[in-house]
Amino acid sequence: MNVAFSAPEAAPAVAWREVAVRYPYATAPAVGPVSLDLRKGERLLILGPSGCGKSTLLNTVTGLVPATIPAEISGEVATLGVPAASRSPAAWSASVAQLFQDADQTLCGMTVGDEVAFALENRALPEEKIVVRVDRALDRAGVPPSWRTRRTASLSGGEKQLVALAAVLAQEAEFFIADEPTAHLSPQAAARLHAVIGGQGQTFLVVDHRLDGLIDTIDRVAIIGRDGTLIADGPPRDIFRAHGARFAQEGIWRPLASDLDRLLRGIGIALDTPPLAVSEIIADLDRRPAGDQSAAGTVIRHFLWQRIAEPAEATGQPLVTLDSAACAPLFAKPVLRDVSLQIHPGETIALLGRNGAGKSTLGATLAGLLRLKGGTRTGPAGGFAFQRPETQFTEGSARAELESIVGKGSAHVDTLLSAWRLESVATQHPFELSQGQKRRLALATLTADTRWPFLVLDEPTAGLDAAACDEIASRIAEIAAEGRAVVVITHDLDFALKTCSRGIVLDGSSVAADAPLLDILRDDRLLAGAGLATPEILRLAAWMEAAPC
């Protein structure tokens, strides 16, 4: 994406000065001390491992922390030139639009039309103006007009995220804050958001883990480390080239191109300008002599091998079979009809489709949690990781959750806590954890349970840092190697490629494709129809197939 970078004005949109936030009863600060400026007109991305306090830092901008969310705050936060605490969080809404990590924190439970109009009504804008802005916001977010009268509570997780996006876009504020905006969005919907961030005239402060497609719209990146302090800050190209290895160690996301750039520099192939997109690397390699291309080919082959799962043949008796199944959520009408498929031992399957396509419903049906409205299901029950991890928690601490699976006092609990980086929060109640920590705990409990012949993971990577995603990927490989199967419901096609060999695409209330994942992701027409997009890494694979190396 070509983006004309903005020319930031001198006065900062936000200035944090030695800011540290400590929540009640916490022994250590959730974030800080941090000193950082965001200039007006600038687009700043904050990156860091999950649980490092990124969301807390965002909530200080409008004074939600500590005015609405109790916390002890030290240092100074100035927003648009005045102390953040000088106005109430509500008074900031005219100039600051904030999209929260959890869509339920942005939405108030009304109908879609009312949700999008809510902030504008609060500002007492004329009704005609509100109607125009609502239409424009729904269009920009890609929300179909037919949703206007639907209650937001009846939407799927991804659909809620789209409506939340429309609701904050409608504010048309000079300063836009987004916390994990693409976590539950399909690739097409995420691209629409990236186009918004790439627009001119606004200041953007974004926290997100899905970097490809986003990073080339960003002016500056600030990195927060595990201890909640700032460890790097600068233009993305320079930052990822200078600190990429350290970020990898800390489990912080990097653009795909940045990782490849680091490997290529290791063999003496360095691009003049640090790349942010794979296409930049391909363009550079195309200009290089055959010797360089051959050397690069060796590195790229290994790079692809680490990131694209090997095709695998289905073997053995199917673990679970759906035959002409009509799948419906509890007490609702079928959302999928005539679904016929089998899952075999050792298979890893990516379940793909646009927001609201029925992926979670099919996943819960496969796991045996939902009764069919038609057709048949044969096979044992499977484990299911819910999209909202809180749903799974029944114990009083993270340690107790794990002990309920592997047994009280088991040494394996400490191993699991360490593997999923939950040692520091082992005694905390699961509801007190950050979103990323909650998801890690839910996945740790599910994957540690060996009762299930197969697992269904619903959006397992949403809100997770790179280290946690790598942990999940390796656990999926281990589970498949044990002869169990894993179904991954995801919008993260890079993760799907890394972990799954088979793909199932849902579209039009049924299965649109069931084939090797690589074949599916190379079918542009199928991808476009199902709200998906070709992952960047496949451009590299295509170059390898065409290149003379």
């Binding site: 439970g109 039309g113 009504e121 949690l369 009764r371 909202r388 009762r451």
Partner: protein, 249 residues
Amino acid sequence: MLSTLHPLPKLIVCLVWLAASIAVFDPRFQAGIVVLAALALILVERRSPLLVLALMIPFALFGFGFLTTATLFREESDFATRMAAETPFGSPAFSAGIVLFLRAIACGMVSAVFVLTTEPGRFIKALMANWRLSPRIGYALFSALHLVPDLASEAQQIRLARAMKRARTPRRIPGPVETASLVVPLLAFAIRRANRAAIAMEARGLGAASARTIVGAPQSRSADAIFVIASLALLAILFILTSVVWRAW
């Protein structure tokens, strides 16, 4: 059709019908209200007769308590017994119980007509636009109204998660032990939900300005006046029929 009416005249009409049901101690009048409310739901709103019958069950159970109290504990229901002395059900105590039983169903059905034909969002908007309800209270009320379906949805999610841990499909209807075990997690959910709604409303400017626009507030139309006149006339006819004509027979 009732769903398209302005919520406030409809509320006033329903309150008048409720007041009449409380004031008139006549089983025929109460039965008439029940039948008319049921017909309104079935014929005008196209609701399933089975649904309407199912709606009556909780009110009937509630009313059955009055019936047994009036029949078995006459001292406690002396006033009702005296009021029902002229009813055609033989024993005054049993007649009083029948009136109280029917009244519970009648009040329940009138309330059901209002609730089933009024979208909560429109109702709150009408209250804010016409009766100057504070937006803070209005949206708090709105959140509370929506909490019920949200709790039901959350309960289903928790049941699915527990069923998954037990490796079996959840029962269609939870048993008493399972229902009791859902209380604490649902209470925690309700607190979290309320907290999130408060943050969402605060972050989007609720209460920041003294004035507020209300988009799509219900507008009064001639149909509302016709509805008010027709429904009050119907109530008067029912009263006359049951208290004068019927008794004259």
